[in-house]
């Protein structure tokens, strides 16, 4: 069983784990595999003759130039990665990218409408407007102008 981008996908695996020759049945179809490690965390696969390059970087699966969130269940070493259900209640605003706070257009306690510009952020020579994720009041404001912020940082919280 693998989970790809949040979707659980049952895989029936035949062949020794870690072996070069194997077969996998997914969604009713059986694929002939040739699996070869080319570097740590990097595989070359032939899937019914088609070559694929697969690599693992944390929970990111790189496959043929695309990125997937991947998790495998059972004792295979990858930790399951389930998105926690979106919480109701107060909404936190985080920047989409590391950058510099240019200006803040609300103050603590202000009433805001969803979609209203609350902060202007600058990154890679571009300024972008960050909008209120919901309507309500500014419950907390954790940054100030000219501050550098990272993508996991909470800038402000909006609630009732």
């Amino acid at each position: 069983m693998a989970t790809i981008n949040g979707e659980a996908i049952p895989v029936d695996w035949e062949g020794a784990p870690g072996g070069q020759r194997a077969w996998a049945t997914v969604a009713g179809r059986r694929y002939t595999l040739d699996v070869l490690a080319t570097a740590p965390g990097q595989l070359s696969l032939l899937v019914d003759g088609r070559s694929c390059e697969a690599g693992l970087d944390g929970e990111q699966l790189h496959l043929n130039g695309r990125v997937y969130r991947a998790a495998v269940e059972r004792d295979t070493g990858l930790v399951a990665n389930r998105a926690s259900a979106a919480a109701h209640g107060p909404a936190q605003l985080k920047p989409p990218i590391s950058g510099l706070i240019v200006s803040i257009h609300v103050a603590l306690g202000d009433a805001v409408q969803q979609g209203q510009t609350v902060i202007v952020l600058e990154a890679m020579k571009m300024q972008m407007e960050l909008k209120a994720p919901r309507s309500g009041h500014v419950l907390s404001l954790q940054v100030e102008p000219r501050q550098e912020v990272g993508p996991t940082q909470i800038l402000l919280t909006i609630g009732d």
Partner: protein
């Protein structure tokens, strides 16, 4: 010719300039910010010196530090690339003051053309048609509202200084006017240190067509035909090509004459680009002049066979143009796709991260000018351009096929990039038909079906990787052999896990 040239830039364009210098036997000096210590331009140059911390204002925009490096290592000239100090007349003046040749136009010509408002006034004197709009900067809110009403919506607020699509915002109604003004002024102030903005009518579905000009210091001025750069997002180009599918010999001749007239009106020298909007009826309007090498110069290089950096250096050294107008002949079709660190599924939002696996494309008719290597950290300090994938073929249809093939080969693991966007664009019927306009992305991209992924294949790969994680040694030699039996073949062939 110069013995030594300092390249006052970073990324793919610094690498590009160093390459031509080496071919000409010119020694090269790189400068770098602390974020770029291991960058390709540092590795390729003959000498490299640090000029400050990562923010551009503390490094690549520090004209004093750059001129100081040039003086100390006896560089005879400075090539500014594009962006940063390339269109800054004060920098060109400071170079002159230090006895160093600036590879570009004189500061006077730069002032007459590089500033968009001044440029409009300069070229209008030669009868080149302008896009309707204001010819003075916005002074106050009242004036803004009055002029906006006169021009009518939709309109554009544009920074007068700089280039590269920065400080340009579309306004569709009164309520957007003031916020757009503030964003445009803020970006212009940050990028160019000059917050003057003006208004221009937003033409309906025009094409962006620009003409490359070269002018030496002996009074010769020629054009190298046009580039079409209509496929844009945020007023920044994504795809460029030469020739334009909308320009035939007669129109090319008129565009070229207008571009040369614009350059001559300003006493322009070195390489420059005269930008026009081309409307549905085939009428064209002057937009601005970029007084520097353009990002998209390789498409012109490929169809004409000229090396534009070589021409720039020759002109700067006082040599004549290497060709006359009647010796310029275009062959075939070239297309460029800008590969940027952005997520096309998230409004092309910039993306920072570290490059893991990197596989450049190759083979006939492919050129990839880039700054990539495994381990490169893409930071928030500079713009998102990673590289420019350029292809050439005998005609446009085959060039599009070649670009599709090259995009399939190009692998940049670790970042979101515009590669999926370009693959979509090359396969789009309107792009293939050459039906382009500056609203192409806004019109068509929202309709695209986000690529759903090959989840079955990903599941198989994830399990195979998990089986090997942190346990088995790396095996590099296969043990499988061909078996004559039929069982493993039955499922081979089309269908199922089709290539995405």
């Amino acid at each position: 010719m110069f013995e030594k040239v300092l390249v006052a830039n970073r990324g793919e364009i610094a690498v590009r300039i160093i390459r031509t210098c080496r071919e000409m036997g010119i020694r090269t000096v790189a400068v770098y910010s602390e974020a770029d210590r291991t960058a390709l331009h540092v590795r390729l140059a003959d000498e490299a010196y640090s000029i400050g911390p990562p923010p551009a204002a503390d490094s690549y925009l520090r004209l004093d530090a750059i001129i100081d490096v040039a003086r100390r290592c006896n560089a005879a000239a400075i090539h500014p690339g594009y962006g940063f100090l390339s269109e800054n007349p004060e920098f060109a003046e400071a170079c002159r003051g230090a006895g160093i040749v600036f590879v570009g136009p004189s500061p006077e010509a730069m002032r007459r053309l590089g500033d968009k408002l001044q440029g409009k006034r300069t070229v209008a004197s030669r009868g080149v048609p302008l896009v309707p709009g204001t010819t003075e900067p916005i002074a106050d809110e009242a004036q803004l509202r009055r002029q906006a009403r006169e021009i009518g919506y939709p309109l554009l607020i544009k920074a007068s200084a700089g280039g590269g699509g920065r400080g340009i915002h579309a306004v569709h109604e009164d309520a957007e006017l003031l916020p757009a003004l503030r964003l445009a002024q803020g970006e212009a102030q940050t990028a160019f240190g000059d917050d003057r903005v003006f208004l221009e009518r937003y033409l309906e579905r025009p094409r962006h067509v620009e003409v490359q000009v070269l002018a030496d210091e002996r009074g010769h001025c020629i054009h190298l035909g046009e580039r079409e750069c209509s496929v844009q997002r945020r007023h920044q180009k994504l795809i460029e090509e030469s020739p334009s599918p909308a320009v035939g010999p007669e129109l090319r001749q008129r565009l070229g004459a207008a571009a040369v007239a614009a350059a001559q009106a300003a006493g322009y020298t070195n390489a420059g680009t005269v930008e026009f909007l081309l409307d549905q009826r085939g009428d064209f309007y002057f937009l601005e002049v970029n007084t520097r090498l353009q990002v998209e110069h390789p498409v012109t290089e490929w169809v004409t066979g000229l090396d534009l950096v070589r021409e720039q250096l020759r002109i700067a050294a006082g040599e004549p143009l290497s060709v006359r107008q009647d010796q310029v002949a275009a062959r075939g079709a070239a297309i460029e796709c800008r590969i940027t660190a952005e997520d096309p599924e998230q409004q092309f939002l910039p993306f920072t991260g570290t490059v893991q696996r990197f596989v450049p494309p190759g083979g006939p008719g492919v050129r990839f000018d880039h700054m990539l290597f495994p381990g490169l950290e893409v930071t928030r300090y500079y713009d998102s351009l990673l590289g420019k994938l350029v292809v050439w073929h005998q005609d446009r249809a085959r060039a599009v096929q070649r670009m599709e093939r090259a995009l399939e080969e190009l692998t940049i693991d670790g970042l979101s990039t515009t590669i999926p966007f370009h693959r979509w664009a090359m396969a789009h019927p309107a792009f293939q038909a050459g039906e382009l306009h500056t609203g192409f992305v806004d019109q068509w991209w929202p309709e695209h079906r986000p690529w759903g992924g090959e989840v079955e294949l990903a599941a198989i790969a994830a399990i195979a990787l998990a089986q090997r994680q942190a346990s088995r040694p790396v095996v590099a030699m296969p043990v499988d052999t061909y078996d004559g039996g039929g069982s493993r073949w039955r499922r081979a062939g089309r269908g199922g896990l089709a290539r995405g």
